[in-house]
């Protein structure tokens, strides 16, 4: 059920192990393969509320496995437009498919320029290799 390790090229990455799929002034956010693998099978996603403002570098929710809990750190700032109900109801979806079915939230960007500071897939892989 767990996905194979991968870091898609079309995504942007944050050192707190989050990814962003940017589309115009919106972005879809989630956690990376590395993050879900470190936590183990997820049993709970505590999401933000619709309309909430989230800040780059700050926590916007929590993901839990049986033995660990982790803040989810926003790679970009913005307003929450949608929470992935499937990730809430069946959090194991995040393990199975962290980059598409297992996305966490969709936001409207408030500071689109922040995207320039995120890593591309190659840089994120290099960052992981250093850890």
């Amino acid at each position: 059920m767990a996905a194979e390790e991968s870091y898609p090229d079309e995504l942007k990455y944050h050192r707190e192990h989050d990814w962003a799929r940017i589309d115009g002034d919106e972005a879809v956010l989630g956690i990376t393969w590395f993050a879900q693998d470190s936590l183990g099978e997820l049993v709970h996603f505590e999401p933000p509320t619709d309309g909430q403002q989230i800040q780059r570098g700050a926590s916007y929710g929590e993901v839990e496995s049986v033995k660990a809990v982790s803040d989810v750190i926003a790679p970009l700032s913005g307003e929450v437009l949608e929470v992935n109900r499937k990730a809430v109801d069946e959090p194991e979806t995040v393990n199975a498919d962290p980059y598409s079915e297992g996305w966490l939230i969709r936001i409207r960007l408030s500071e689109p320029a922040e995207a320039d500071e995120l890593l591309d897939a190659g840089a994120y892989r290099a960052f992981l290799a250093e850890q």
Partner: protein, 499 residues
């Protein structure tokens, strides 16, 4: 095994009560119970069999070796149970007049005196209900102390090492303080340079366990005390590991100002599968005015409760604390007497013996003599054979032992934290080592033996993910409508729930 609710049959009873032929007054309709609670209905023989069967599915120190690190699972003397159940203690109401409770008050006063001596500090409150409540109480004493000095607003930080029990940071937050973590150095001591950089006039105090959760005595404890006292901060000693140092080194002499003592660890209160415990605190004289109310004081030959303590932080629990726990710990201390040091010496000897026998088969994160416990790592087993600390722990059950604490402290990967206590004979220590050495070989030869373990327990490995996701935390009567009519097998019950 069936739940007691699945054995229940409507109309069966175990109770008998006196009947007085008195009129029962009418209660207002709105306040009257509408639906009776679905408590079990069994006659007494089946009641006793149910709980006896449950007990056979449990492992205690009476069952076998229980080297659960940081929990000090020592033998619990049976005489203490007899003493705690003396009617003069057991049936005493906590609001009895002082004159009618002199024996209880004297026992508590004597226990306080003993704890003061072992701690090397000055004044004791027995009130906190458990170690973590002792921590919170101690932190509130710090608040009160700094509030009186007008420094509370300034001093917001409590320093805690990264090897600490989770209760320490949780208590810090609950006391309204902020956490400042400090690192562990390569020898397993607190990193003094890291500490120095983090301690200043905004620091309220330090909170550590010594020996630490790694089972190591901090070699720099005097320097650490100087650092804190030089900025006017206080030092809190988490007494979880006091079993290592009774009569060897006293927290007060190390420079600590406040200590809690886990009576269910060092002083043999049986832990009852999760409690009760006891968490008395002992403090330096400067903190005495802030101790909880009431204090037990001696006036000549009589003992009384002192409620007139205007600077007290208040009450942290009902009455004067878990008295039954005090009886057992007091009796334990009286049977050791001044030789209590020997208890700690043997606990440390036993731990070092285990360490000496195991050091080649498991990874040793800190190569030092240990105190009453030590931490080894199954990191190599995990890397080379895919069997980690959890697998080793489960396999130990097949050998008849309770596993050590695993995955703690957090700074050691694949940690196994082993604490034998002073009450185990050498033969048991040897058998345990033989088992752990055999398991290390099994990990190489047939790792599936570890991964499938345990093999002969009432249950196999349990699915914790499922438990957390579905959160069934009470019996689902509504899922089993036929109960009481037809006996239902547990298997069918699972099926009905879609299991």
């Amino acid at each position: 095994m069936k739940l007691i609710y699945e054995k229940s049959q409507s109309g069966r009873t175990a109770y008998t009560l006196p009947r007085y032929e008195l009129e029962t007054p009418e209660l207002p309709e709105a306040l009257r119970r509408s639906e009776p609670p679905r408590l079990p209905e069994l006659a007494e023989p089946e009641l006793v069999r149910h709980f006896t069967e449950l007990s056979t599915r449990n492992f205690g120190i009476d069952t076998g070796f229980y080297p659960l690190g940081s929990c000090t699972m020592k033998y619990n003397p049976r005489v203490n149970e007899r003493l705690a159940n003396l009617p003069g203690f057991r049936d005493l109401h906590p609001l009895q007049e002082e004159e009618g409770a002199q024996g209880a008050l004297e026992l508590m006063w004597r226990l306080q005196e003993a704890l003061v001596e072992v701690s090397g500090l000055h004044a004791c409150s027995l009130q906190p209900a458990a170690g973590s409540q002792g921590e919170l109480t101690g932190l509130l004493l710090m608040r009160a102390y700094f509030t009186e000095r007008g420094e509370h607003e300034q001093r917001r930080k409590i320093v805690i090492p990264d090897s600490a029990h989770g209760t320490n940071p949780a208590s810090v937050t609950m006391a309204g303080y902020e956490l400042t973590p400090v690192k562990t150095d390569a020898r397993g001591n607190i990193d003094v340079e890291d500490l120095r950089a983090k301690v200043d006039e905004h620091t309220a105090g330090l909170m550590i366990t010594n020996p630490s959760t790694l089972g190591l005595f901090d070699e720099h404890v005097e320097e650490i005390a100087r650092i804190f006292h030089s900025v006017g901060a206080l030092m809190y000693y988490d007494g979880a590991n006091l079993n290592a140092v009774c009569g060897i080194s006293r927290p007060g002499d190390m420079g600590f100002d406040i200590i809690h003592i886990n009576l269910h660890k060092t002083f043999s209160q049986p832990h009852g599968g999760g409690g009760p415990g006891g968490g008395p605190i002992v403090v330096r004289d400067t903190l005495e005015p802030f101790l909880p109310v009431p204090q037990i004081v001696r006036d000549g030959d009589t003992f009384r409760l002192d409620f007139d303590r205007p600077k007290s932080i208040g009450k942290v629990r009902g009455f004067t604390g878990p008295f039954g726990v005090f009886i057992r710990s007091y009796a334990f201390i009286r049977m050791w007497g001044p030789q209590l040091k020997r208890m700690s010496e043997i606990a440390v000897l036993n731990a070092n013996y285990l360490l000496a026998r195991l050091r080649d088969a498991y990874d040793l994160p800190f190569d030092r003599l240990c105190m009453h416990e030590f931490v080894v790592s199954a990191r190599s087993l995990k890397r080379e054979h895919g069997a980690g600390a959890l697998d080793v722990a489960k396999r130990l059950m097949d050998y008849g032992f309770h596993p050590p604490t695993v995955y703690f402290p957090l700074i050691v990967p694949e940690a196994l934290m082993i604490e034998p206590t002073e009450t185990e004979p050498k033969e048991v220590l040897d058998e345990f080592c033989d088992a752990l050495l055999a398991i290390a070989r099994e990990a190489a030869d047939s790792p599936e033996l570890l991964k499938d373990a345990p093999h002969d327990r009432p249950v196999r490995r349990l699915d914790e993910v499922r438990a957390a996701k579905r959160a069934i935390v009470r019996y689902g009567f509504e899922d089993h409508p036929d109960l009481g009519a037809e006996p239902v097998e547990p298997r069918q019950l699972e099926a009905q729930k879609g299991a």
